[in-house]
């Protein structure tokens, strides 16, 4: 109990301090126009943002103002993109670890692929895919996948290479083939590395899905909501959409954590 308190008290203090700073700053910034009373404050207070968030969440689901609806649109393309990135990322990592030529030739390009600001290309991807008849979820999922495959590849490459020489030697004395080395040693060893990579990838998939919604004409999704709110100067809606996006990211990361605990449980308490 005391241990838990020792760990949570500093977090509570820091969060409370941030909220107080935010509140005071909002009072000062909005004072000239009469704080708290306006519909479009320059910096809304935490209370105003919570209010707008609740209003958005409590709308009926088919309403265009429902934040749950917009979050679901964003979440679907983020999840499809994440699944794609997961499959491609793991396949690439296995190929890189097993084929030495690929390690030399492909890995630098995978790193280089991330120095291309993928989000900058998002409008073009959406337009180009729109030309060949792919609209809706797929372009957004592809952008999300492009962002999120990198952490999975790097984590898996590190993980598959993590077994030590002595462990590899042991399997060799059992005259294990390369498939057995992979299935019995490399793959299980990589799991501890995979999940931190997946957490980063999950967040990036959400970011990718949100930004991919910006150039699509802004019909649905949290990104579209951000764009519309910014266009009409609806600051409260803007902040509410932003908080909703953050909640979505936290939920997705929590899902990855949940999958991790399931695996830990299935493997008898350790990863």
């Amino acid at each position: 109990m005391r241990e838990a308190w020792r760990r949570t008290l500093p977090i509570i203090v820091v969060v409370a301090a941030l909220l107080i700073v935010w509140y005071v700053a909002a009072l000062i910034v909005d004072a000239p126009q009469g704080a708290l009373a306006q519909e479009r404050p320059l910096l809304p207070t935490p209370g105003q943002v919570t209010g707008a968030l609740l209003t958005g969440i409590l709308q009926p689901l088919d309403s265009p103002r429902s934040l749950i609806y917009h979050a679901a649109v964003t979440a679907s393309s983020a999840l499809v993109g994440f699944a794609l990135a997961f499959v491609v990322g793991i396949a690439l990592a296995i190929a890189i670890v097993n084929v030495r030529m690929l390690d030399r030739s492909l890995m630098p390009w995978i790193i280089a692929s991330q120095t291309v600001p993928a989000l900058a290309v998002a409008p073009m991807v959406v337009v180009v895919l729109g030309n060949i008849g792919l609209t809706g979820l797929i372009p957004k999922a592809l952008i999300a996948a492009w962002l999120s495959f990198f952490p999975i590849v790097t984590a898996m490459v590190t993980g598959l290479r993590s077994p030590e020489r002595i462990q590899l030697d042991l399997l060799r004395t059992y005259s294990a083939g390369s498939w057995h080395v992979f299935a019995q040693l490399r793959w299980p060893a990589s799991m501890g590395f995979l999940f931190p990579g997946m957490k980063v990838a999950a967040t990036l998939a959400v970011v990718g899905a949100i930004v991919a919604e910006l150039p699509t004409g802004a019909q649905a999704g949290l990104g579209a909501r951000l764009l519309a709110a910014s266009y009409y100067g609806q600051t409260l809606q803007l902040w509410a959409a932003l908080v909703m996006a953050s909640i979505l990211a936290v939920v997705v990361v929590a899902l990855v954590d949940g999958a991790r605990s399931l695996l830990v449980h299935a493997r008898g308490g350790r990863l």
């Binding site: 020792r6 760990r7 008290l9 500093p10 977090i11 509570i12 203090v13 820091v14 969060v15 941030l18 320059l42 030529m101 030399r104 030739s105 492909l106 890995m107 630098p108 390009w109 790193i111 280089a112 991330q114 120095t115 291309v116 600001p117 993928a118 989000l119 900058a120 290309v121 409008p123 073009m124 959406v126 337009v127 180009v128 030309n131 060949i132 290479r161 957490k199 980063v200 967040t203 959400v206 970011v207 949100i210 930004v211 910006l214 150039p215 949290l222 951000l226 764009l227 709110a229 910014s230 600051t235 803007l238 902040w239 959409a241 932003l242 996006a245 953050s246 990211a249 936290v250 990361v253």
Partner: protein, 258 residues
């Protein structure tokens, strides 16, 4: 640099296949222009690209990157001084680092206007958290033995920081810097989607894509790729020089053993 041959060969093969596919299958330009067409568009639009580069990279990305990384480093040093703050700030910063921070772009445009200030602000906020987290983690990285040695020399906390803990933190700081180059570029470009003084790489990409003038978009993408790679690999090179003592940089034979 010795191992550059394989990736370069791979890249050339991909470019060759791309060119051959574009010419051979007559892929419409609107879908995927050939590499030569992109190069031609790049050359033809040099003044435009130059102006966009100055607006986005020189005036938005670099100041934002410097402000965010600098602030993250300084706050990291301050947080490190107090165990209470470290326990409080670190979880909050990790959470903030996992949020879609780029979503603040419209707010920053609203606060700081259409010009580079709002773009630099987005880049600064996005780069702040990775640097803060990595600085705090890096300052923890020095081993207990080395710390004890410093204590046995009766080194002051500042001396320990300067001679032992900051150098030990450098690999972490460089990790954050390299990550931040991409983040700052993304932040600035995405912020331009929300409003610009009609110049800048993000503005150009979104407007020209909407007008289906895809040659310019591809040229602009190439520019963004070159910029991102130059920043990243430049920092990686600097890292090699500054942290020459790291085992990873001392011999490449270790990795080959695997």
């Amino acid at each position: 640099m010795r191992h550059a041959a394989a990736p370069i060969a791979f890249g050339l093969i991909v470019l060759g296949l791309w060119q051959a596919a574009c010419v051979g299958f007559q892929i419409p330009r609107i879908l995927l222009p050939a590499p030569t067409a992109i190069a031609a568009a790049f050359a033809a639009n040099l003044p435009l690209l130059g102006a966009d580069f100055v607006q986005t990279v020189i005036r938005s990305v670099l100041p934002g990157f410097a402000m965010g990384s600098g602030a993250g480093f300084i706050v990291g040093l301050l947080v490190d001084a107090s165990p209470f703050l470290r326990r409080g700030v670190l979880p909050v910063a990790s959470l903030a680092g996992a949020l879609p921070i780029v979503g603040i772009a419209p707010i920053m445009v609203m606060w700081f206007g259409f010009d580079w200030q709002s773009k630099a602000a987005v880049a600064a906020v996005m780069t702040f958290f990775p640097m803060l987290i990595n600085t705090v983690a890096g300052l923890e990285a020095a081993g207990a033995m080395e710390r004890d040695l410093m204590r046995s020399y009766s080194a002051s906390p500042v001396q320990t920081l300067e001679k032992l803990r900051l150098p030990a933190a450098l690999p972490y700081i460089f990790t954050a810097l390299k990550l931040n180059t991409t983040l700052a570029l993304i932040g600035a470009i995405v912020a331009e989607f929300f409003g610009t003084p009609t110049v800048g790489m993000g503005f150009r990409i979104s407007t020209e894509a909407a007008r289906l003038d895809l040659d310019v978009v591809w040229a602009e993408t190439l520019l963004a790729a070159i910029t991102g790679s130059a920043l990243f690999f430049g920092l990686a090179y600097l890292e090699r020089i500054v942290t020459f003592w790291r085992p990873a940089f001392q011999s490449s034979s270790e990795k080959e053993m695997r």
